[in-house]
Symmetry: C3
Subunit: 347 residues, 3 copies
């Protein structure tokens, strides 16, 4: 369930309402209701989920959701504990239901509490914490002891920050829990919407992003980074990891403990790294891959599939570094050969 510190649930919805919103047809239970949205594998009673295609059939068969939006071909795989709602585009239907349940999912304050104060009366700030001028602190925020909050920092509703944290000027944090002794340099944005849409011929329908960002203890994050919150799950930055400037962490990534991510590197989304992974500058990591513990990725590499831990990888697509070096050397040699032939032939 979406964390109520960050999200106001406008539900419940009757299945009749879901049907009206989405065009999906329920086999039964039009007066049943759903209170929340969730992924197939984390949904529980009273929650609605969706299954986009046969790839997720296993999760569908095991789901504990009360209602599942499915294409007709998968209706028979919905477990008996759930009501199947059949529709052509389950992901779009699910996004519409999510929007109805969380119409203000990307707001920085509760819909009924416009930010009248720079520091909300309900915010709690620990002892010894110094707050510079121009700071915005929203409803229900909790900040630990001995923190330093730089000029113009904006901390949205419900955010929790541990002890001895240091936030540079104009840091923005929403939908996030930040550990002890974290350092975030100026201009970094933590917790904004992930980049998720259901695309069709008429355009791109925004999928409400209902997760959080969890930044564990002793993390340092550079200047002007962007760390998106999760869609239904959380984006996680593991304990003791160090992130350089201008780094992009998309939604649902789980960065392991004690990683080192150099400047301008980026993770698309839903990927995972083990402990002590090191990324060089301008590395890109595709979605849904896993980088094993202790792996090192050379600068400017593109990680397109999962990589073994404990090794050095490089190139695009990223591969064992010796292989990439051999490819670089091979191409150089072949091109020189061509040049020599061209010169010999007088061309």
């Amino acid at each position: 369930m979406a964390d109520p510190r960050f999200y106001d649930n406008a539900g419940p919805l009757l299945l009749a309402q879901v049907a009206e919103l989405t065009g999906a047809k329920a086999a039964a239970g039009a007066d049943a209701q759903i209170a929340d949205v969730a992924a197939l594998d984390s949904a529980g009673p009273g929650q609605i989920s969706y299954c986009e295609g046969p790839k997720f059939k296993g999760a569908l068969e095991r789901t504990q959701a009360s209602v599942v939006l499915v294409p007709a071909a998968l209706a028979s795989s919905v477990p008996p504990t759930a009501i199947a709602m059949v529709c052509d585009r389950p992901a779009l239907a699910f996004a519409k239901v999510s929007t109805a349940l969380y119409p203000n999912a990307f707001w920085l304050w509760p819909a009924d509490k416009p930010p009248l104060h720079a520091i909300a009366p309900s915010a709690r700030v620990g002892e010894g914490t110094v707050i510079a001028p121009g700071v915005f602190i929203g409803e229900g925020v909790e900040i630990g002891d001995d923190c330093i909050i730089g000029p113009g920092v904006a901390i949205a509703r419900g955010v929790q920050i541990g002890h001895k944290a240091w936030l540079g000027a104009h840091v923005r944090i929403s939908h996030a829990l930040i550990g002890d002794r974290c350092i975030v340099h100026g201009g970094t944005s933590i917790g904004q919407d992930g980049f998720g849409y259901v695309s069709g011929p008429r355009g791109h329908f925004k999928i409400p992003q209902l997760g959080r960002v969890i930044v564990q203890d002793d993390v340092e994050i550079g200047a002007n980074c962007a760390i998106d919150r999760g869609a239904l799950a959380d984006t996680v930055i593991g304990e003791g990891s160090k992130i350089d400037n201008l780094v992009q962490i998309g939604h649902n990534n789980r960065i392991g403990r004690r990683n080192v991510l150099a400047a301008q590197s980026g993770f698309a989304g839903s990927s995972e790294t083990g402990e002590f992974v090191v990324l060089g500058g301008q590395v890109g990591v595709a979605d849904h891959v896993r980088v094993g513990a202790g792996a090192m990725i050379a600068a400017k590499s593109g990680v397109t599939r999962s990589l073994e831990g404990g090794k050095v990888h490089g190139g695009f697509p990223a591969k064992p570094i010796e292989q990439w070096r051999r490819e670089v050397a091979t191409l150089s040699r072949l091109a020189k050969g061509k040049r020599n032939r061209d010169e010999r032939d007088g061309s």
Copy 2:
């Protein structure tokens, strides 16, 4: 003509003044005057333009400018309706005239109205719009109804924002018109100067950037992006396009409708995309290219020339994806062959 909502014109200038500023010599009309600067193909009466070389001879012959700065070799191609001013470096001369006409082109407020108020009295804000603390709204700004303006947002003189827009914390907007239902996440900069200089042995002379940014309806822009305004024309983000975090859009780019631009991608300048173009993460697009409707560009690609629509492209330089995949496979195979030979030869 530069939009007077954003730019104060300090003209007109006598041609004698232009000659003194630039060293250009007019064949006639030293007491004529020019009121504005414009590109050859959009200039009209009372305006000065320039032609850098024979590549633009066609546009020169058709121009409706009243005055044109040209190298001697092109003076005879200036149409009879225009006065030719001959000089060695027309682009530099034009930049100097632009600077004289718009000495404060990159200011965030009118030169005669220093920003005494956080919200200028002349700004108009629609009904139902909620403005967080610490927001700066400049002279003549208009914001529609039911918008959400996050903490510390800075909106410079003359900016127009439609209805139901949502701006995250510390968004910066200048020299721009923003449509309805646009979402801009925290820390994004819209409307700053494009990256334009006339370079010579003594350094780089700044070319005043006199265009705007047009963000059409239903656009979403991620965190910490940078979208420069146009030089003489506009930078445009088409209706319904979605832009991820840390994306760079240089001056004069025209992003089509319903594009999807993944994180850390960038457009150099003066390029154009058709409808429904999709860019993967960390893609770079060179200047003055066209990407056709429905094209998809794989992550990390470098687009160096125009690409056909409706296809998937990849690699650097970007090419049809199957070709790029073949190249990757070919190099891998050749490098392995080399390795096998080396091992066989005991080297």
Copy 3:
């Protein structure tokens, strides 16, 4: 010595204290004391330095430091003017001593002066300078005449800014000296900590960054850039250089005069460019390389070693552009040959 405008020195430390902090053993002089930290080649009397390995033996033999942290194998190379302190991990020991001497090295204000005022009483602002609302100016800051300071700008303790500078909204500057007529666009962060750690099996120990950023006259820096201050030396941006949006300049880089760095390019650290170097978009430059005067680097290149000036380089690893073009053409030709063979063979 760390610039006292930016750093409060908590020393001196007795060698006995250094020993306790680091586990290093001094051959003599436990009641001697050190007042500051410095690199081997810049250290002077009363300062402590370190030598990590035999690579730096020459600098060790010439150092004028009073105390040097060294591994046992190098103790005999410490000059007679210095006391050797032997330890297993000199870099880690040095980082611990630095932390003890500068416990608040990354603060934005002096530890004993929390920022009560948006504009510190001790700040000096020149005539004709216009300051927008929401600006933070720290203790001891000096800003010249006729500057424009945009909304929400944050200038930390001790920063010096010349005349006629222009700072866009939410620019952040700390630990920096900025020249005359500099332009910095919105959201750029100058002067935050470089990305430096001593890594070990238990994690990454933060190395205090005690240098500065020097931005010389007539520099322009785009939106949402990040320019880190030096570790022990300074990061320098040379006179008249122009930097586009979203550019990363890591610690200790020395960018030459009149460089042009296109958007999303990045320098890892401790590299140097000559005059009139041009980088295309998304170029990456590794650490400790030198790019010669007048070199041009094509977009998306990766500079992994020093490059000759006056030439055009491209590719990754960057090489003479003709060579890179030949490689691209060679690979394309080979892959096509393979395709033709495959088609002929019916595969």
